[in-house]
Subunit: 410 residues, 4 copies
């Protein structure tokens, strides 16, 4: 264990990563660099600096970075171009943040001359995989310290004892048993796992949810939004252009107010077990519906179907931690290629948990042509008689097979 | 045209198919057999008999069949085993009824010794394809008469003139311009197309919707349902077992009351154009969510992902009219094979347009094991250290590639 | 029929297209532009000019173009980047030439101010689809005249009678019953269909084959070739760089000498029937094997598998005539993206019909690392103990399911 | 380590597994049960019994089973129904044997009351994964001892030293450096890896190959075979019905004589690295070609394409060791469903390494109809004019897009 000289730790400033910080110093006798990212989780980050200093971290070894814009622009939005959902439900709010953290950890490794990274993800979850696959893909010789897989502090009690022994401040809530949930938040979502949710038959408690009101508590009046897209990405809300992360924050604010984006599901982890998770993704839920709607008038049918066929695979890649893998990049090349024409606007109505698409329009790229689709066109763009041949040839193989079956008395 | 002796017509009793009936008699000089199906569209069918008699159809040539149970049991439920949705949104309510009508048309052809079938679907839509592919697959030598592709009554005015000339009763609504929408209904859904919906940017009018109240008008109190599944099919609601079609009707009733299942979208037709459609699928919307939920605890991860990967293709097959094609049957063999363990119950909460899964349970087939998934198991079922090797080997190819890139200074 | 003023005809100079030329002049009373392409089919093209002049075609309306380089560089090679084969066997030699002809037809339409194109493909084959889908995709308002679907010259006898009546020279072979096969040739292959091949149980006759000797007649000495690839495309043979079409011609020459690339199969046409075809693709057969071999050391596993999963779909798109469709372009974006690292050389041995890959090497992009793969590395790049964790976690879902089954006594 | 009481060892009788046997006895102090399978590898198995007895294994703990028929009937043939090839080349000869060995190991565990299994696969290869995934899927609580991942005998020298120290007989070839290749054989194939093959650029040496003559040494006269299939499985050769394993053995004999089935490739292992392998699969190579050929006339186009689309995934499942996983079973349900009509016979010509399909026929299930496919049918089964409508509607989306592009001046 003595071969690590300097480790960059993904440090939130909370109890767990503070214990890890101390444990790294003691066990590996190594210099620790802390990295704290603002991904829009809605917490003050400066306290992390003060805590790190108390552990003797050198000021130049404390990194606190605002990654919000990069996060939404280069990770969330590219993912939404594919209408990505995992297992039919999950919008991948946690999964999509991990590759950015891995990237930044390695950048700091390169900048500080560190030889290892460390993180607070447990040995049972997906996040360890996502962090570490990303780190290995970006720096193949990196050493990775995953304390939860190494140490013996495998219960809440042992962790608290270690903290007290080493003078690490423990907040009252931890002493009282800690939060009833394991949570993760960033600009795309907040998630809840564990404890009270371990029985998949039991309804989540109302006071668990933090970002959204319940549909029951949402306003009685619906609200309409006009969402404008350029090359598949959201660029303006109600005519107001903003940077990517501000757009998503605004969608979160409005969606949360209307009780939008709660999700309660059982998902399949990459490490092999099922787990129950609850998620709030207000902005993402609106964005997904709206993106599909703008694609519905601007994408060719077969391109849309190709994307739909590939989407579950793309979603699994992100869920499993393969953002930085070449197969994800290859799929992204296809997806991005298709988004050139995805330009226009979508009108959605938000009401007590509902996201209702009520209109979609594209001045430049609409493939919707009412003169062809409707019953009585007769401009001659479409000759109904053509359909006879179309059906006849598509039926030919079925007829040949049926003829054979008939001859054989089947 | 004189080579048709007896044609079975899919006959609703409405204006269009009445005109077709007359037109067939006049143009083909053939005997006409009428077939009217109860698929749960919620209309009286006996008036169709009276009308047919007026056209001189022999009583033994008038078929009025209640197909509701067969429809839900053998078509709707098998489709829902695959969590089928077309283009991310549409629950295929119209598509799934067509193969049953085709099957019954051919059965009546065989029973009556007819040599042709006829239907009222236009030359621009999907339904002509679905009817005809089904008919050809089941009776390859069948003659098919699609009047909309043959005649010159290609406007509402011409149709009305023909009706009046031939003494076909025209209801007031038709004289006043007809319904503003083209509609189709069965136990799974009701659909709206055309007229007011031809501008995809314009919101549908509230008074269009027939089966559901608006979320705004739905009750202020949520309602919970317990849905029980056996081998992937719904078998009971709140503990009460019913035949398939009664279950779906009950879900429609409850869902409609709570404003559930409205959909407004632009879809890609098989014949090549985009079209705007609005749908109400209250029961199906609940069923889809609940089926995914029971699968979430009873299906293996890779089986679930395989199903997700194949679902869009399966949906397109049904949408395009290939229910009776061998590739649909082959996919169904796979899907049905996976449903053996899909047993258990799901609890959903319905509230103002929302279907919220709040719990899922399976006494016999749950693969959810909280002792493995949770943070502090320590029963030893899962050794966190294993994750290190898992990640290392999954990362190996990424590291080799990164090493190569590093050596090349990329 | 009188609304066509000028039609561009894909004109080979042979009997069929000469009859079409005359028939167009007579039936449509339109000016005809002839287009004859050199795709490496190995025939003199200048006689086509003389014949066209005899039909009164103006010199400026006669186009004879050498498209060989464009054909191989922009169509054949991009297709081979995907290791494309249709239905497990066919290398798509005919299919890949059609989109280029369609493109050039439309270019000539635009250049000459024509309003229609015409071609000699029959109404039963794939080529009509390929020509016409391409033409419509590139010029949506183009008129297309497909004489075989319009006229009544639907037998060889009628065609010959028409030719004689109009003074079109008929070669002796046609009078004697014509070639026993319908053939098509270009730099990628020559194909044979029809007549003697209509019984799929009957062996093709030895004297049918034109480009290759039989394996029995091939040299007794094997020949080795070194094939060099850059970004997935062949760039040199035995160290000698050449333009794309010369490389393929050289591979054809060598492959043909060694009896390589004969194929006898039954394929499924897009228009719905099965047909028997025989093909000689000597160069393409070598190229396919070699391309796979260079990919085997330069492509990441998951990228290679992604390509393999998508290949049949990509092959069907090309077979069915969708080269110019947006979904083909989207797939090409993915495929081309993956070829950046496909650089290196492959050594093949050719012997009496066999293409044997005996070595592959890449100075810059090899992901093959013998120190990791072999039994006794011990440089520590790979810790065998990691495999235990890898297996354990991959087995977890299987074990949970087996535990459940055991508890239930299954 | 002391918690294992009785272990079932996959025992070949060779040096490696003999060392393992001794090592298990010494290290785990456990009773050892030996299991030696006849999979058609062509070696005497009784010597394994004598050796086991020398190690003190009780006679009732020595299992020597002839699994040849089960192997071919229940594993090889089902796999060939899918036309399975991994990475475009490899016929999975090793992969497909492992699940049967895993199954038999667990059967013997259950029969003898053992609590562990052990095998001689290394920590770098795929076979450890295949054995262990199979074992875990069939008996989730089984203990698995993989000596190569545990012990320190990680070089040939250490292994030999251990053998000599414990009186394990070492054959001369091992003392002289051992075989230059790591080999595996069963009725489907023989494989070679390692040593001389570690340079992927170097040609394999001629004297490596054991089952086939070189094409150069093969007879100068071709040989024809008639292969009869029933429901997708080979049932007779030249009219002679035999059990599955005898059919494959016969194909191996004939194929080997004609130099058929050699393969030299670089493959991607599941554990993450590339490796070079050479294979001889004479019978399988013939079988694959013939099975595709019989499918070419008996399978519907879309069913065949569905199978082609899924094949790479199915191949990866088998390669990676997931034979006993539910997703493989689900795919098998689909595959087997499609084979009901795959009945008939195929004629192949074998000549110096070439397998040439020259004819295919099915009395009962041929979908090939020359009256439809050929140029001059005119029985009216196919109306060429239908193709116009078919093309028009398939082109519609392309034309709409092209119109839009034209309007925008693109």
């Amino acid at each position: 264990m003595s071969d690590v000289k300097k480790a960059v730790l993904a440090y939130s400033g909370g109890l767990d990563t503070s214990v890890i910080l101390k444990w790294l110093q003691d066990t590996y006798q190594c210099e620790v660099v802390t990295f704290t990212a603002d991904l829009g989780q809605g917490e003050e980050l400066e306290p992390a600096r003060a805590k790190a200093l108390k552990f003797g971290i050198k000021p130049e070894n404390i990194f606190i970075d605002d990654l919000r814009e990069e996060f939404v622009r280069d990770f969330v939005f590219p993912m939404f171009r594919a209408n990505t959902i995992y297992e039919g439900e999950y919008l991948l709010g946690t999964s999509i943040a991990r590759p950015l953290i891995a990237k930044r950890l390695i950048e700091i490794v390169n900048q500080t001359g560190a030889d290892a990274i460390s993180h607070g993800a447990t040995g049972k979850g997906n996040d360890q995989v996502r962090f570490e696959l990303g780190a290995y893909a970006l720096k193949p010789g990196i050493k990775i310290i995953a304390p939860w897989r190494e140490w013996d502090l495998l219960s809440r009690e042992k962790l608290l004892a270690y903290a007290e022994k080493h003078g690490i401040p423990v907040e009252m809530k931890h002493k009282q048993g800690g939060s009833p949930y394991s949570m993760d938040a960033n600009l795309l979502h907040i998630s809840y796992e564990g404890r009270h949710l371990e029985d998949p038959a039991a309804e989540a408690e109302e006071d668990m949810w933090r970002w959204t009101v319940s549909p029951e508590q949402a306003p009685d009046a619906a609200e309409y939004l006009d969402l404008e897209f350029a090359q598949g990405d959201l660029v303006a809300i109600n005519g107001k252009a903003m940077p990517a992360h501000e757009l998503l924050a605004e969608l979160n604010r409005i969606g949360g107010k209307h009780g939008i984006g709660r999700l309660d599901l059982v998902e399949n982890r990459y490490v092999g077990m099922k787990s129950r998770g609850c998620y709030e993704t207000p902005g993402g839920t609106i964005l997904l519906r709206a993106h599909r709607a703008i694609e519905s008038i601007t994408l060719d049918r077969e391109v849309a179907h190709l994307k739909d066929d590939l989407m579950p695979r793309y979603a699994s890649l992100i869920y499993n931690g393969y953002w930085w893998a070449p197969e994800r990049r290859a799929l992204q090349a296809l997806i991005d290629h298709t988004q050139q024409t995805v330009n226009g606007s979508v009108r959605v109505k938000l009401y007590k948990g509902n996201v209702i698409v009520v209109g979609r329009d594209s001045k430049t790229d609409s493939l919707f042509d009412p003169t062809i689709a409707t019953f009585e066109d007769d401009a001659g763009a479409y000759d109904q008689k053509d359909a006879g041949g179309f059906i006849k040839l598509n039926a030919l193989r079925l007829r040949i097979a049926a003829n054979l079956a008939a001859r054989r008395g089947k």
